[in-house]
């Protein structure tokens, strides 16, 4: 549970002065950021720039999740880690780097693999409510969720379905990006009445059609660009959280004050995030962006539809027929 600060400290005002000047953000938007917690699933090529810019901007809490350790072959794109961090847990390495940049962010490293067993607990109320000091009296019967927004920075198909289903089941917006070779894609799912990942991709791709970064390669700055974009979309949602009609959760602040990086546009529109119900495609070879209008939420969707068949998390490796890692399994023979 995280509460927005009641007011900015003098140090906050100094640190964030250049963004407080923006009428779209302002003091209320900054306070909204301070009350928002974001779970970053994957501290790799996307997660590094994302965590960097969310922390710099003053997000309240940042969960950094990765099961992997830093390797030399990561450093061409995973820029929060350094040579000296080789062999260390990525979650810890990223967390330390983020703290150097902004020690006022509550940074929580998780050196573990997201799984059907831990995902909901982690997103909703982990560590358990009982262990936390109660910061918000009067809301004990509606414990706040641990994370308000989830960012999918993972690198494999099973994890992408797992993250989606966990977000649908817990009612969280999912800001999802991906990158391969010189291309990137970004969409905001399960937000403002828009579609979820399964609405678009009801059936997983045949495993033999999936190329990962270990096989296909990736130019490091392409996930860099996509991770920065992902940060922008998270900041849009987080900065307007107080007034976003899209987000109504138990125990949420009854805050109707303005603030929010898209507030000039979205107060009469839904969904507010510019990438909701949109696919942003980037091709680095010709530096071309394209924005695609996506289908709405599908009534027949197995996860978010009218009669969902996914009522709990399942075995996603079996569902997808592939492992929840981008490491080349053949190397382990």
């Amino acid at each position: 549970p995280l509460t927005a600060k009641a007011a900015l400290s003098n140090e906050d005002i100094m640190r964030y002065s250049r963004q407080l000047l923006l009428p779209e953000l302002g003091v209320q938007g900054q306070l909204n950021l301070s009350g928002t917690s974001v779970l970053v699933v994957g501290c790799g090529g996307l997660g590094c720039p994302l965590a960097q810019y969310l922390a710099a901007a003053g997000i309240g809490r940042l969960g950094l999740l990765d099961y992997d350790e830093v390797e030399l072959s990561n450093l061409h794109r995973q820029v929060l880690h350094g040579e000296e961090n080789q062999g260390q847990a990525k979650a810890l390495s990223a967390s330390r780097a983020v703290r150097r940049l902004n020690s006022t962010v509550d940074c929580v490293p998780y050196h573990l693999q997201l799984s059907p067993e831990n995902a909901l607990e982690l997103i909703q109320q982990y560590p358990p409510e009982a262990n936390l000091p109660c910061r918000r009296l009067g809301h004990l019967d509606f414990p706040d969720p641990m994370y308000d927004i989830v960012a999918d920075c993972s690198d494999n198909v099973p994890t992408r379905y797992l993250v989606n289903d966990a977000c649908v089941l817990s009612g969280k917006p999912l800001v999802s990006a991906s990158a391969l070779r010189m291309e990137g894609q970004l969409t905001v799912y399960n937000y403002g009445g828009g579609p979820c990942y399964r609405c678009l991709y009801p059936t997983p791709p045949p495993p033999e059609t999936v190329t990962n970064c270990s096989d296909g390669g990736v130019l490091g700055v392409v996930p860099g660009i996509m991770g920065c974009f992902q940060a922008l979309e998270v900041l849009k949602i987080a900065s307007g959280r107080g007034c976003a009609a899209a987000r109504v959760a138990p125990g949420d602040m009854a805050d109707n004050s303005p603030g929010g990086l898209f507030s000039a546009f979205d107060l009469n529109q839904a969904p507010p995030a510019s990438c909701g119900q949109q696919l942003l495609m980037f091709d680095g070879q010709d530096a071309r962006f394209r924005s695609i209008r996506l289908r709405p939420k599908q009534p027949g969707c197995a996860a978010c539809g009218e009669k969902p068949s996914v009522t709990g998390l399942i075995d996603y490796e079996a569902f997808c027929g592939s492992a929840a890692t981008d490491k080349c399994q053949k190397l382990n023979l």
């Binding site: 991906s178 791709p205 045949p206 059609t209 190329t211 990736v218 981008d326």
Partner: protein
Amino acid sequence: MAAPVGVHLEFGGGAELLFNGVKEHQVTLPSQSDPWDMKQLLVWIRRNLLKERPELFVQGDTVRPGILVLINDADWELMGELEYQLEDQDNIVFISTLHGG
């Protein structure tokens, strides 16, 4: 007889690798008695453009899971999917979903 239809095809996200790495193709679909629809376009692509491993692109009479089809920059689900009738100068994109990070 409907006149020949010129359409611009694009492949991305790796789908272009099934087409010799060529991302953009300007093609002309020959005139036929009925208007061209997406279902027929997929058959035409399979016969005329796909050089190898067609199962990585089409399965049954539609695209394989994990390929998103865009008609004039909109998700084909908004346009009628396989039943959409092609118009001259339409822009059809087949984009393979990326999962890397």
